[in-house]
Symmetry: C2
């Protein structure tokens, strides 16, 4: 087994992120990628437990905000798509008819779901009368039912969510947690009496995401996506992008304000106090196993994972030392494990007959935040030796250990937050700027690989295309944190407070 | 709203079970059956929460017995079925070659999965190279991976489980929780070094089921299924059948001993201490949302559900009385709700502006075990009024309420156990007996609808066929509780200790 500094079980250095990431997800036993369908991994117990703890954080936020958990069928009959297609056509027709675009600020792209879904056309040896598809997301099945459930103002707001697997027939290269064909997915769908209700929901979603990112200990860029990147049928879409160590951004959450567009398509209306029928306003909020992908990518190091205490399946591993030579060690260690466990910590007692170095090595790979060693000397002194996964080794008294443990875990979380904030801001550089000559637009200096560029931008679609073509990067949209003072737009040169980012997206 | 004795919101009387059951699952808001695919219901929050609490009981048993939770992909490539088909052919060939049947006591029926699964043959607009199907159960995907994971004796036993949805292209009439096309499913799969290890696992499975049935408060008949009802590739299958109020039996759990038959088909072997390669022995243990179907059917009454406290989403509902006329009521009631909630009870405070009768009516339908009322008079006397869903109303002191609440909930569980044991045993009658004359076999008196018949049976396949043909019922197999003293076999007349049952199965 390798000592400090040596490559562990073939873990590539994290500086080679594109090799490190796919290796570590298997070496740390999160998933097994050998299942014979590309992009469908087997979740191993350690990975599944970690994901379940992320789900538990999400459920806790949903409970706090009065959302209720449903579970909708996986299969969607093809004919339900007709309504969605009508919605898309209606939006196209409205634009063609010259409706003021500010009133029609919504995604109009063909949803394209037909091309991205898995189709079920056969049951046993029979061809089905109506083909069905595996849900890629659940607007269609949910809104079909919502229109049966919502009758009057008293039924609103309807705040629902579900945590289910969704499916995409993904043709791009797959990556564990980041781009997969079976996706562990969270989706909240809400229905409101008016636009204001939906707008307030979007604010609540934004706050929920920030609370989750705090627990997961990494920052993200929050942007209102450009119109051409808005979800089909949405008035506007807000996306949350983590900056991964290779400089690519990973969209880990989105929330969409639908106004009443979907409600019109699905005849989702209610009777108001005055007896008139009104269409509902809606929102959707989605997250997925990408949150785990971001945790793995943001926090890990050359020695393995580093899991935030909030989602670590094992927060504290306890390792008895020289238990064979001192019969007092094991009883005391078991007692400590029980005490910590009953105090609400997730504890594992590693009593394998291995030398301490080998145990440390294993738990480093798995990213356990705190390791405790206890041997005869410690029992005598009333102390134990603690090692933090973020670095540092010290002796702490066994007396008052539950308070100390809370502080230690908090210090690991704080350290992870400090590191990831620092890494992410190091990777965001000012945009080098454009110049225009007789051969067209050019960069004032080349863009670097692995960097996210920040810029003021207030141009139109054509101006955005200039930016994306000259850089080969993608515009993330209007950052929710605007500039305090106006800055000159990178293309038009006009002063604006609109802060935007250019990045290579996953 | 109806008073006592009147039909509630159209709930049919439970004596008409075949009308009552499909009505109550929707009236109590467990599911909505209006989703446009037959046999795929939408789980509403109350139903999903109840099912999640059953899952939590199962997970707790899995944790106690050292099983680890995995999550395998939904889709199975068709070519993985080849191994399963080879297994079935091999068993057929062995029997044709005259292998001693006692050595080949295993299900040999064509698995028939091909005819019962949903097929995915298209991704987007492309026809897939290898068709895939939605898992009906996970032997094939799991054992493909197990053969990669198990290398040596040290990897055994491997004790796995997952809680996922499975799919059957069901052509029979569907019924919520009982016969559906998308099934909320639990499956444990274990791998052992030898037959003895697998046999001990089967004993552990049996014990787990008994603990769960105790929590869910209903009894069941446990039988070793006849050979012709054994799971394909299994050496023997044990099934757990609840006796529903209409006298039909509902199979709520099964566990199968596979010996090494599946392991041979999937090349699942390990290197033993002496360096030789041995095939593993395996077991499977399955349960599903049928457990909830049984809970609904066994315990409910004319007024709605009665949920066992172990899985009731709301164990105690607290209803303030005359809160508008006495400002002291609401603070005291909130305080009590918080106190009970912090003591670990699942509590709901119903502060709706409705008269108490209407509230009682709602919570009766939903089967909440305990209802508490508190008004100004109670505050003065230091008491509250408690109503149990199983019957009875009394005054209890607010002092020491957490201990009292534990006793009350236990008394509801005990009452449900007593009732369901009594109902089930009332429905099991001695078999009327057969007689044989020149026109063949005849019943000595006709069998009644809605009755399960108990009998001694030690005959062969042809004798069993006589029983099933004359009665129109199905033989459940050898009951694990044999007769203490020999009884004459219903067909052969020879004394035997083998107790069996004839029933109409769901």
């Amino acid at each position: 087994m390798g000592g400090p500094g040596k490559a562990k079980r073939g873990i590539p250095p994290k500086s080679d992120f594109n090799s490190w990431y796919p290796a570590i997800v298997e070496i740390a036993d999160l998933v097994d990628k050998r299942y014979p369908i590309k992009g469908m991994d087997v979740w191993k117990p350690y990975g599944w437990k970690t994901m379940s703890l992320i789900d538990a954080l999400t459920r806790s936020q949903m409970s706090r905000t009065g959302h209720e958990e449903y579970n909708f069928p996986l299969l969607v009959p093809e004919d339900l798509l007709d309504k969605e297609n009508q919605l898309v056509s209606m939006l196209k027709a409205a634009r063609d008819a010259g409706v003021d675009p500010s009133e029609l600020r919504m995604g109009e792209e063909e949803s394209g779901f037909e091309k991205e879904v898995y189709w079920v056309k056969h049951g046993g040896n029979n061809e089905l009368e109506v083909p069905m598809f595996l849900r890629p997301t659940s607007e269609t099945p949910m809104y079909t039912m919502f229109s049966l459930w919502v009758r009057s103002h008293a039924d609103l707001p309807l705040k629902t969510f579900q945590i289910v697997n969704t499916f995409r027939y993904e043709t791009k290269q797959t990556r564990s947690f980041i781009r997969v064909r079976e996706i562990h997915f969270f989706e909240a769908h809400t229905v409101h009496a008016d636009e204001q209700g939906a707008t307030e929901q979007i604010a609540e979603d934004a706050e929920i995401v920030q609370r989750l990112l705090h627990e997961l200990c990494f920052p993200a860029i929050v942007s209102k996506r450009p119109i051409w990147d808005t979800f089909p049928g949405a008035w506007y879409s807000t996306a949350v992008d983590a900056v991964m160590p290779n400089g690519r951004t990973l969209q880990v959450a989105t929330y969409h304000h639908y106004r009443d567009q979907w409600a019109r398509a699905f005849d989702l209306s209610y009777e108001d106090g005055d007896g008139s029928t009104r269409y509902c306003h809606q929102t959707t909020f989605g997250m997925s196993e990408r949150l785990l992908g971001a945790v793995v990518g943001m926090h890990g190091d050359d020695n393995g994972l580093i899991l935030p205490p909030s989602i670590a399946p094992i927060q504290v591993v306890i390792m008895p030392v020289a238990a064979h030579s001192d019969a007092n060690v094991m009883p005391r260690v078991s007692q400590l494990a029980t005490h910590l466990s009953e105090s609400g910590f997730r504890v594992h007692l590693d009593d394998r007959d291995l030398r301490p170095g080998a145990k440390h090595y294993d738990w480093e790979i798995k990213g356990v935040p705190v390791r405790l060693e206890i041997g005869p000397r410690d029992l005598a002194s009333g102390n134990c030796v603690v090692t933090l996964r973020t670095g540092g080794k010290s002796e702490i008294p066994l007396d008052g250990i539950t308070q100390t443990m809370t502080q230690l875990l908090d210090s690991v979380s704080d350290e992870l937050r400090a590191r990831s904030h620092s890494y992410a801001s190091d990777m965001i550089h000012p945009f080098p700027g454009l110049m225009h000559n007789e051969t067209g637009w050019h960069l004032q200096s080349p863009v670097e690989d692995g960097i996210v560029y920040e810029l003021a931008f207030d141009g139109n679609d054509a101006d955005a295309e200039v930016l994306e073509k000259t850089t080969g990067l993608t515009l993330l949209g209007d950052c929710v944190t605007a500039y305090d003072e106006p800055v000159d737009c990178a293309v038009t040169g006009k002063p604006t407070n609109r802060r935007q980012h250019l990045a290579r997206m996953y």
